[in-house]
Structure formats: structure tokens, C-alpha cells
Amino acid sequence: MVVANSHPIQFGKLKKGMRIRIVRTCDDCGDSVRLQEMGLVEGTEFTVVKVAPLGDPVEISLRGYRLCLRKSETKCFELETVE
């Protein structure tokens, strides 16, 4: 499905209030497996709730709960914005 207004974005660039879709997860790095089990699978949409006052971690809201992730440990996710 092609959404006209979506464009790729890196985890480190996320800003408060953005709506994001996970385009691809990577299967080679171990970090990603646990995060997928936390619900961050391909196609999942989440909202960026907040970036911590010191710049990291990032709080997101997905599947009805809140999760904080470090920017450096989520590099392998391919993300895009959702309008």
C-alpha cells in the first residue's frame, strides 16, 4: 500500500506527536527480536509520546501501552511517517 504523504524517517529523528509505521524490522540483530516480541512488528503503527529531557530515550505509545526505547538501540528499524 502506498500512502501519498508518508516518508522514511530514522528513529533518532522522531519528534513528539509523530505518527509512525514500522516498514521493516531486521532479523539479523538480536535487539530487534525482543522488540518485535514487545509488539514492534512490521506494519505496526505507533505514536511518539515524548523524548526524554536529556534527549534519550524516546517514549512511544503502541498497542495500548507505553514503551521507552533508546535511539541507539533501534537503528535497525525502517520507519515511515503516517499522515
Binding site: 532479523d27 525482543r34 512488528v41 515524548k50 529531557p53 536529556l54 530515550p57 501501552y65 514503551l67
Partner: protein, 737 residues
């Protein structure tokens, strides 16, 4: 595949364990509570078992084993509180243990007959993801649906129960709502177990393979459902792997099927998780009719606007921490004084009764009563700190604090959760180390435990005050005195940074879990959970650390007491009386006898023997002996210095004026002053960095379940302390002091 590599290692260990595991002692039936972290598992466990709990360790690992008894109409059943899990695909030690317990591989723990799976109604999707994995273990399940009071909208329990294939009991754990119903269901399911049947459905080629393989398995007499075969295709379990050893042709068929599936797409590693979440999402949409209208901003959202705010959030965090530690100091001190008073009075009470035997008197009063008192004096701090931790954790604020602090601690290799253990260690390392349990990643937890004793605890304070008062303040003034005190507290923290860095690079190798943190909704603390947490933390401390502390206190007492004889004491007294011309029973003469006896004890002789080692640091045998006698507990150094420097213990008002004067007047045999400002700084640095606390080492032993780590901590801290003291003294000498 990652999982199979991990599994084969574990299964060989488990196989050995099973051969050795003893027959179950009790005939009580065993059930286990499983579920996601933050789903209300502990609250439910406390509601079911009350205070009938046992806290221990699983053999060979650092994971705490909590079990208890549930009273049912037909008798008691034993219940294990399994550590919280996000997935059966274990990555941490806690999770490995949890999975082993569920699957009956844990040494000395029987396979549970029934699982109570805790499912958080407010977080259905992720909890149901875990349920799909648990359902495939083939163990009968009862679902306890928690937080039903938080669900906004309508929840169709009958439909949910149908999807899950088991009984679902809604509960509110802390209000004991639904607990009776849950007990009834546990009882019914123990008599007539219900194995869950979850149909994850939908991936055609996977299903086709699973059907085909299932039929082949049935032909050779192996009974597997299609769902089970599908799971083995996606995530092979070691039980099945072992079974395949007997059926090589089936192993071949399975790997062929996996290869074919792998050609289709990349989903073999992945489809398991995606498929399960698809199913969980479908179930949630079907059973939960959300309330109409746009949801208004929740209380949690509104609180988080302030509590994790850029400015207010950090301010409130600092304020909260200040309040916590201020309370520990304020509330613990009178209790500690009271404990000390009780044990001193007890000693005074017992002493006359044992006057007939000086050895027995000293053993009981100084060794046993003194030792037990020195251990129990830590209890108030432990209880107060765990009260606050339980409250902060129960409300959900602890997770926010970790969120705020992660960046700060992250750059030296720790994470946000390390701040409570490290900050607590400034009061006392023992509760600090115990509180490192809030860290799920075992490597970060171990690194935190290993540097926690470097934080300057309150027992170092008397030493700083004595030495700063004697050598810094008179010469450099109050400003520098305050600065020295601050610098001593900062020293441990500064030294800890390169140590953590080194530990992470060189010692604690291997994979670190990615840091992720769930921010649960805010709620009121559950008081029963708070009291039980305090009670069991205190009990664990007294039982395990306490024993070791009392034993070593007695050992050090013996080393400083023996050998001794009345003849020798008499001759010290006569000699002193002859030299000084004082009355034989004057206090001065008695102090001299005490000093000589200590000097001639094993400890004193040892101090003289190792004096050359400490001379580069500027310490003579007297300071060396005081340091050695302070290894079990650093606060021992003040009375030891008092005895050695011929002054007896500190005065009743707690001031060290006499000891200060005596330290200042002391000289080397050649007349040089013993203590210069540099030596005194060196001595303070020694105390700041040295691990002179048996209780801490005993706690590390318990928390890491290994003697290796306390020895490591003791060694590195002692070496650091020695180097620090020597360097400072040598710099002082080079500058001509």
C-alpha cells in the same frame, strides 16, 4: 538459529539436573503464576498466599525463587511466583529460569500441574501474545484477568474464554475481588484440567506443512496437534528436538519443510511473532467494545505532562530523591540508636553474670551481642529504603525516574534503572545492592552491584569527620573542611565511572539486552504489597547476610582477644605503674593494658608484621592494626584507634576531641609526626575506596549467588584504596611535607 543454539546448551545442563533431582519431598500439588511484568502478578500472588511465602534462590543462578502456599477447600497447593516474562524466547537469566520452571526443567522444582496466567485487561494485545506461547506448552491454564477496573468499554468475558480455550476469572488483586472465584477455578482445573486450544490460523503454506508433518508424526505414533507442529516449525523447542533424535527421518522432514518455507519469504524467524500479534489484535477487537466518543486524556497522561517534563520532571525527581534519602537519615537514625542502645544495655546486663570467666564474658558481650547488634543496626535503613522503593515502584514512578535518568547513566554503560541502587548506596551499600533487583538486565545489574560499595556510605562519615576535624579544619579552615567532606563523597562516584567502563569492556563480556522500559499507568500503591516487600527484604537480610556477619565478628573478636593471659596483663600493668607512677587500678593503667593486649594479640602482631606494606602510605603499625580490625565493619576503626592510641572509646557526647589530640601528638619512633595533612587525606581516601564491610560482601555473595564476585569486589577495592593512599602520601612527601 539463535534459539536452538541457546537451547542445546541449556538442555544438556537440564538433562544432568534431572538425573540428580531428588524425589519431591512433599506431595502437595504445584502450580505456577506466570505473566508479563507489570500485569499485577505479584499483587495476585500476595493476595493468594498472604504471608505464607518462602524466598530463596534457584540453584546456581542469581534469580530469586518466591513460592507460597494457597489454601484451597481440598487442601493446600504450592504456588511458585515465576519471574515476569514478555516471551518464552528467553534472553536473560531471569527469563531462562522462568521458562525452565514452566517447562519443568528447573533443578529441584517439579513441573507445575497448572499455570495461572495473569493477563492485564488494559494491555490485552501484548499479554495475549505471551498467552499464545504459554498455551502451546500443553500445560493446563487458568487465566486471571487483572486490571478489569481500568477497562474503558465493554469486555465480553465469555467470548474471551472461548478464544483462549480456558477459564477466565476477572480479579482486582489488591481488593481481593475475584480471588475466591479464582481459587475455585484452580481447584476445579486441578481435578479436571483444561488444555488450551489456541488457533493462530491464517498462514496457508505453514498450515499445509504442519498438517502434513502432523499426519506423518501420527503414523509413527507421536500425538501432536497441528498447532504444536506449527510452533515446532517456527520455534523448535528442545523437548521436541530430543524427540527428533529418535526419529531422524522426521528431523529431515522438518528441516526440509523449514527450508521450503524460508524460500517463500523471510518470515520463518519472524512470522511467529507477527502471526501471534495478528491473532492477539483480532481477539482484542472482538472481545472489547470500546466506549463511545473520543477518549479524554487519561490521568496518567496528565500526570506525565508534569512528571516527565523537561524542567518540572527533573526538579520533581531530584526533590523526590532528596525526600527519600532525607527520610532514611532522619527516620533510621533514632531506630539505629535504639538498636545500639538495646544491645549495649544487653551487654551491660550480661557482663556481671559472666564475670567468673573473662573469655566467655568477652565472647558473649563483644563477640556475639556486639556482632548481632552490628548486623541489626542496618535493618532500619533497609526497611525504610524498601518501603520507598515498593511505593515508587507500585505507583509507576520508578519507571519514570529511570526514563529521566537513562541518558545520564547510559554513557558509562549503565542504564536508567541503576540510579536507585547507586543513590541508596550513599546511605548504605547493603540496601543499595539489594535494590539492584529493579534491573532486569543481568549484566547492568552486576556492574551496578560491583560499583555500589564505592559510593561513600554513612559509616565512612565518622572517619572523615574525625580526620578532617583533626588535620584539615585547624590548618585550612571551615571552607576547605566542608570541601574535603564533599570531595570524599564524590571520590567513589568518580572512580566508579572508569570501573564500570572497564567492567563492561573487559569483564562482563557477552550480549547486553537492549534497554527498554514499560511505563505502566499510574496507580495507588498496594499497601499489602509494600508491607510484604519490606518484610521479606528484611527477613532475607537477617537470614543470609546476618549469619555471615555474626560469624566473622566472632572471628575478629577472637583474633584481637587471643592469645592473652592474666600474667601478661599483670606484667603490663606493673610495668606501666612503675614507669608512670599511677595507681594500678586507674583508668589510664587499664587503657595501657588494653593497648598492650591488643598489640600482642594475633591481630596486633599481624599489624606489626604487615606494617612495612603500609609504610609507603605513611601508616605505622597502630594505624595498620586499626585498619585491619575495621575490615569486618569500617565503623570499628574509631574504637580501635581509641584503644590503640591509649584513650579508650570516644566520649559519651560523641566527640573525638581526645582522640584527635592524641592522633596529632603521635610520632614515628624517630620523632617525625605520624599524621600529616597528606597522610590524613591518604587515610580518608583509603577508607573511601576500601571495602571494609563484611555485610556488603555477604550481601553481594547472596545477590550474585557466587563467592567470585565478593572476592572480586574486595580485591579491586582494597588495591584501589592502597594505591590511592600510597600515591597521596608520596605526593605529600615529594612536596616536602
Amino acid at each position: 538459529m539463535r534459539r536452538s543454539a541457546l537451547s542445546s546448551k541449556r538442555s544438556s545442563k537440564a538433562a544432568v539436573a534431572q538425573d540428580r533431582s531428588p524425589a519431591p519431598r512433599s506431595q502437595e500439588r504445584l502450580i505456577a503464576i506466570v505473566g508479563n511484568p507489570n500485569a499485577g502478578k505479584t499483587t495476585l500472588f500476595n493476595a493468594l498466599t498472604g504471608s505464607h511465602q518462602k524466598v530463596g534462590n534457584y540453584p546456581g543462578v542469581t534469580v530469586e525463587k518466591v513460592s507460597g502456599k494457597i489454601k484451597l477447600a481440598s487442601g493446600n497447593v504450592e504456588c511458585i511466583d515465576v519471574p515476569g516474562l514478555y516471551s518464552l524466547n528467553a534472553v536473560s537469566e531471569d527469563e531462562n529460569v522462568a521458562v525452565d520452571v514452566i517447562e519443568g526443567r528447573s533443578q529441584g522444582v517439579r513441573k507445575p500441574e497448572l499455570l495461572v496466567c495473569v493477563v492485564d485487561a488494559g494491555n490485552l494485545e501484548r499479554n495475549l501474545f505471551f498467552y499464545t506461547q504459554i498455551a502451546e506448552t500443553g500445560i493446563p491454564i487458568v487465566v486471571a484477568l487483572t486490571m478489569v477496573d481500568r477497562v474503558k468499554g465493554e469486555l465480553d468475558l465469555a467470548k474471551l474464554s472461548k478464544f483462549l480455550g480456558v477459564d477466565v476469572v476477572p480479579i482486582v488483586g489488591h481488593k481481593d475481588k475475584g480471588i475466591k472465584e479464582l481459587k475455585d477455578q484452580i481447584e476445579r482445573n486441578l481435578q479436571d484440567p483444561r488444555k488450551p486450544q489456541v488457533d493462530l490460523g491464517s498462514i496457508d503454506s505453514l498450515d499445509a506443512h504442519a498438517h502434513q508433518l502432523g499426519e506423518r508424526l501420527a503414523r509413527i505414533g507421536a500425538d501432536y496437534t497441528v498447532a504444536e507442529v506449527r510452533r515446532e516449525l517456527i520455534e523448535p523447542s528442545e523437548g521436541f528436538d530430543r524427540y527428533l533424535n529418535q526419529a531422524p527421518e522426521m528431523r529431515e522432514a522438518f528441516s526440509q519443510a523449514r527450508e521450503e518455507l524460508a524460500k517463500e519469504s523471510t518470515w520463518v524467524v519472524n512470522a511467529g511473532t507477527t502471526g501471534r500479534y495478528e491473532w492477539a489484535g483480532m481477539v482484542q477487537r472482538t472481545v472489547l467494545k470500546a466506549a463511545k466518543g473520543t477518549p479524554k486524556r487519561s490521568l496518567t497522561d496528565r500526570l506525565d505532562l508534569i512528571l516527565t517534563h523537561r524542567v518540572f520532571g527533573l526538579g520533581i525527581f531530584i526533590g523526590t530523591m532528596y525526600l527519600v534519602f532525607q527520610s532514611i537519615y532522619t527516620f533510621a537514625q533514632p531506630m539505629m540508636d535504639a538498636i545500639q542502645w538495646v544491645f549495649n544495655s544487653l551487654g551491660d546486663l550480661v557482663r556481671p553474670g559472666l564475670a567468673f570467666s573473662p573469655i566467655l564474658q568477652s565472647l558473649v558481650v563483644d563477640g556475639v551481642i556486639g556482632g548481632v547488634g552490628a548486623m541489626l543496626v542496618f535493618l532500619p535503613q533497609i526497611l525504610i529504603l524498601f518501603f520507598f522503593i515498593a511505593v515508587l515502584e507500585g505507583t509507576g514512578y520508578l519507571a519514570r525516574a529511570a526514563f529521566l535518568m537513562d541518558r545520564l547513566l547510559g554513557w558509562c554503560g549503565l542504564n536508567g534503572r541503576a540510579f536507585i541502587p547507586l543513590l541508596s548506596s550513599f546511605a548504605c551499600a547493603i540496601p543499595g545492592i539489594m535494590s539492584a533487583r529493579v534491573m532486569p538486565d543481568p549484566k547492568s545489574r552486576l556492574a551496578t552491584i560491583l560499583v555500589a560499595p564505592l559510593m561513600s556510605c554513612s559509616a565512612r562519615l565518622p572517619v572523615y569527620i574525625l580526620l578532617i576535624g583533626a588535620f584539615i579544619e585547624p590548618r585550612f579552615g571551615k571552607g576547605w573542611a566542608g570541601f574535603s567532606l564533599f570531595a570524599m563523597h564524590l571520590l567513589g562516584l568518580v572512580v566508579a565511572i572508569p570501573i564500570v567502563w572497564f567492567l563492561n569492556r573487559k569483564v562482563l563480556k557477552g550480549k547486553r539486552l537492549p534497554f527498554f522500559l514499560e511505563l505502566p499507568p499510574y496507580q495507588w500503591p498496594k499497601w499489602r504489597d509494600v508491607w510484604l516487600a519490606m518484610y521479606f527484604r528484611g527477613k532475607v537480610f537477617v537470614n543470609t547476610a546476618g549469619t555471615i556477619i555474626v560469624v566473622t565478628s566472632i572471628a575478629v573478636w577472637a583474633l584481637s582477644y587471643f592469645p592473652r593471659s592474666t600474667e601478661a596483663a599483670q606484667s603490663y600493668r606493673t610495668e606501666y605503674v612503675r614507669l608512670k607512677g599511677v595507681a594500678p587500678n586507674s583508668p589510664e593503667a587499664q587503657h595501657h593494658v588494653d593497648e598492650e593486649q591488643l598489640a600482642h594479640s594475633f591481630l596486633g602482631r599481624f599489624g606489626k608484621t604487615v606494617e612495612p606494606v603500609f609504610v609507603p602510605a605513611g601508616f605505622d603499625w597502630r594505624i595498620t592494626t586499626a585498619i585491619l580490625s575495621a575490615f569486618p565493619a569500617r565503623e570499628n576503626v574509631i574504637p580501635a584507634l581509641g584503644i590503640i592510641f591509649n584513650l579508650g572509646e570516644q566520649k559519651a557526647d560523641g566527640s573525638h576531641a581526645d582522640l584527635e589530640k592524641s592522633l596529632k601528638d603521635s610520632t614515628w619512633p624517630d620523632g617525625r609526626p605520624l599524621m600529616t595533612p597528606w597522610t590524613s587525606i591518604g587515610l580518608m581516601v583509603f577508607f573511601a575506596l576500601c571495602c571494609q564491610c563484611m555485610s556488603t560482601l555477604a550481601t553481594i555473595k547472596r545477590e550474585t549467588n557466587s563467592v567470585k564476585w565478593p572476592i572480586f569486589v574486595f580485591t579491586y577495592m582494597t588495591v584501589l584504596a592502597y594505591i590511592g593512599a600510597v600515591v597521596i602520601n608520596q605526593v605529600g612527601l615529594a612536596l616536602g611535607h
